[in-house]
């Protein structure tokens, strides 16, 4: 057991994550070919417009369900909405935000674009802290669009052209189907002014997605409403990212490697639960921490992966001539 623990603590998280992401990508994007269907309550951006997807992003059914007439929505039929939500929650609490860092196909694509940038040897850019703190709020606006717009439709305040408004704006709708050879989403819907706006926004956002994630790691995740939704329910998850403040030297190694520029990971020495709304639980911070046990990933209060000096040295490639 202790040998297994040591093995995990010394793990090359980067490689592990690459293969998990690749497998998850293949499973979710192409799973349909093998008739895999994990349901329509996936807490990741696996777009329903991909005909061969092995599951569907929860936001699509959610928007449709919430857009029902209020009379129907608040009747017994509303139970369906609740049960779908319960399934979403069940999926979510198992992996917490690791859905973002390990499974989300849209996230994986951004990491691949980052890999490409690294191959070319172009430097990444970062937001300044002030840009960051204002930009990160955008995801809550998107979440409001996901939840409130359909409700307003159901109340009769918005017309049908607002149906699944966020999906029309989402880069996932344009990109994911391309992997199964479907480019039909790259079009502007001229049926109404709203539709023109939404679909044009979608195309612009997608182009921004590709360019943005080339220069900024995980560019889209700052704006992702799913990430905002996750954060609301992350206190219920069984998987936790924890920090022992008294063991932290604030060296900032974790902050440096953080794709999401989470300042608190290095500078907050009070909170035990260090998962923040932008976190994608990629665990790079734990891998980069040179202090024994300062950061760890817990599954129901049992440390699954811990920061260790030994593991740090191995990952940095400085332990070789000693053994």
């Amino acid at each position: 057991m202790s040998r297994l623990k040591k093995f995990i603590d010394r793990a090359d998280i980067r490689r592990f994550r690459f293969w998990v992401q690749l497998s998850a990508f293949i499973l979710f994007v192409y799973g349909g070919y093998l008739s895999i269907d994990l349901g329509r309550e996936m807490p990741v951006f696996i777009c329903g417009y991909d005909q061969e997807a092995a599951g569907m992003c929860y936001f699509m059914p959610l928007q449709h369900q919430l857009a029902r007439d209020w009379e129907r929505l608040f009747s017994a039929a509303g139970l369906g909405v609740l049960s779908a939500f319960a399934i979403f929650l069940l999926w979510f609490i198992i992996f917490n935000k690791a859905w973002c860092g390990y499974i989300c196909p849209l996230g994986t694509m951004q990491d691949w674009i980052t890999l490409l940038r690294k191959k070319i040897g172009v430097a990444y850019s970062n937001y300044t802290q002030s840009q960051y703190s204002s930009l990160k709020k955008i995801k809550y606006i998107f979440l409001a669009i996901v939840i409130i717009f359909p409700l307003l439709m159901g109340a009769g305040l918005f017309g049908g052209e607002w149906r699944a408004a966020f999906c029309k704006m989402c880069p996932g709708r344009l990109i994911t189907p391309m992997f199964v050879g479907d480019f039909s989403q790259w079009s502007i819907d001229f049926s109404s002014n709203t539709a023109i706006f939404l679909t044009a926004f979608g195309i612009a956002f997608t182009i921004l997605f590709i360019v943005g994630s080339f220069v900024k790691k995980r560019f889209f995740c700052f704006y992702c409403p799913m990430s905002a939704m996750h954060y609301i329910f992350s206190p219920f998850s069984i998987l936790r990212l924890k920090k022992e403040g008294d063991k932290c030297t604030k060296c900032g190694d974790c902050y440096r490697v953080c794709d999401m520029q989470i300042f608190d990971i290095a500078d907050d020495v009070v909170s035990k639960n260090i998962l923040r709304d932008d976190c994608i639980l990629c665990l790079k911070c734990i891998a980069a921490c040179p202090e024994e046990d300062a950061l760890h990933l817990d599954i129901v209060n049992m440390a699954l992966f811990r920061s260790t000096k030994d593991g740090f040295a191995k990952r940095m490639g400085v332990d070789k001539e000693r053994e």
């Binding site: 604030k250 060296c251 190694d253 001539e321």
Partner: protein, 441 residues
């Protein structure tokens, strides 16, 4: 009358020692004395310590110089990034000095009540005689503490080529981080021009790893100090870390590992370098720099044992390791910059929460009985922080002794009485706790 002059001198002809060689002789005497009490004042030193004793003897007593084939970069503070100097093929040589002889001659440049270390460094540089190296190609000076920052102009007037590296006094904000990163980047550029070499991805990566290996070796050594009984005395540890200031880094790393291997054996055998009830001391404050290791020596002569420290001549020098996300220059240089700013617990910063936390953590992990806090008289920042640290340690029930010192040997008697009394009180405390424990069982 005028003719009798030369006649007279001829009669009294004898060798007159010029000030420079007298200075050198005094230094060597000081070094011999300090080294002797470290080496011969205690029995059963680890065999692997011989290398370090010998190194200090060669460099400080016999005047041997190292690194004659490489550009030598004098550093005035540990915030000067070693990785960049190594990556450009240079050798960093730390100029912080511990000689009383130099302190006296450096006193000419500084107000009476100022830091001994800064005075001694000025004195040494004024003599243009740096033990360890035969010349200095360049001096890097991070603008950390006031006294060093002001004295750099004096150093420049002495004819040295100096680079000022701007350093923020507040490390919490993002602005300070960015500011320091820029300082480090321009330092890398400037040094590259001076040395005439290009900073490459490969050399930078190698340098980061080289320093990381040295850090790991030190971490291994400190890890061994957690053992109770301890396998080695703290005075030797200070000598080892002091050697890092000028020794060849790879040789140093290998030697530390060899020492660790020997100490590991001692631990396995249950060997005790101290005595049965020696209080375990955490040392903090102004750095003990050879030959001014008198405080650790006094502690251990009084039967205490220094098992951990929080000072820029040991722990702080090695503590935080660089982590790189993308092994390119743009990321490596910034990563190096972050290591030097963020984790630093120097009292020159506005807040000292990190230092308090570091001390509390060390006290816990090394099962500390008491803390000895040294401040060089005139080092304002250490003097000022003393109260808040004392309060913090009180909270966790660890007694602290605060001493103000300088490099003068005359201070000895009074200081050692205080140290002895402190150690004795810790012993009494320890005995009481032991009794209680036994009573409970």
């Amino acid at each position: 009358m005028s003719q009798s002059g030369p006649l007279k001198t001829r009669k009294r002809e004898r060798k007159v020692e010029d000030p420079k060689s007298r200075h050198k002789r005094h230094e060597a005497m000081e070094a011999v004395k300090a080294l002797d009490s470290i080496r011969f004042g205690f029995s059963e030193n680890p065999k692997e310590m011989e290398y370090f004793y010998d190194l200090f003897e060669r460099v400080y007593c016999s005047g041997e110089t190292l690194h004659t084939d490489k550009p030598t970069i004098g550093t005035l503070c540990i915030q000067a990034p070693y990785e960049i100097i190594y990556a450009l093929g240079g050798v960093p040589v730390r100029l912080c000095n511990g000689f009383h002889t130099d302190e006296q001659s450096g006193g000419d440049f500084m107000p009476a009540k100022s830091c001994s270390l800064v005075k001694a460094t000025l004195g040494m540089l004024n003599q243009h005689n740096i033990p360890t190296v035969d010349r200095l190609d360049f001096i890097v000076h991070p603008t950390t503490c006031d006294q060093k920052t002001k004295s750099i102009s004096t150093i420049e007037d002495m004819g040295y080529s100096v680079y000022h590296m701007e350093f923020p006094r507040h490390k919490e904000s993002e602005e300070s981080r960015e500011y320091w990163r820029r300082s480090v980047r321009s330092f890398a550029k400037e040094l590259s021009v001076k040395i005439g070499r290009k900073l490459t991805r490969k050399s930078m990566k190698e340098a980061i790893k080289k320093v990381a290996r040295a850090q790991l070796a030190y971490h291994r050594l400190s890890e061994l100090m957690k053992n109770d009984p301890v396998p080695i005395l703290g005075k030797d540890i200070f000598l080892v870390t002091n050697a890092f200031f000028f020794d060849d880094i790879e040789r140093w790393t290998n030697r530390v590992h060899a020492l660790c291997d020997e100490l590991q054996k001692r631990v396995d055998e249950g060997y005790n370098a101290a005595s049965k009830r020696s209080p375990r001391i955490l040392y903090t404050g102004s750095p003990p720099i050879f030959p001014n290791l008198k405080l650790p020596l006094m502690i251990e002569q009084a039967d205490g044992v220094v098992v951990a420290d929080e000072s820029c001549s040991a722990n702080r020098l090695f503590n935080d390791m660089v982590s790189v996300d993308e092994w390119f220059l743009y990321d490596m240089v910034d990563a190096v910059a972050d290591r030097y700013l963020k984790g630093c617990t120097c009292p020159i910063f506005t807040r000292n929460e990190d230092r308090k936390r570091r001390l509390a953590d060390l006290a816990k992990r090394y099962s500390i009985d008491g803390v000895v806090y040294q401040s060089f008289a005139g080092c304002q920042v250490y003097e000022m922080e003393q109260r808040s640290i004392q309060r913090e340690l009180e909270k966790i029930g660890i007694p602290m002794l605060y001493v103000e010192t300088d490099y003068s040997p005359g201070q000895g008697g009074q200081l050692s009485t205080r140290i002895e009394a402190f150690i004795e009180s810790l012993k009494v405390r320890k005995r009481r706790v032991d009794h209680k424990k036994r009573g409970a069982v």
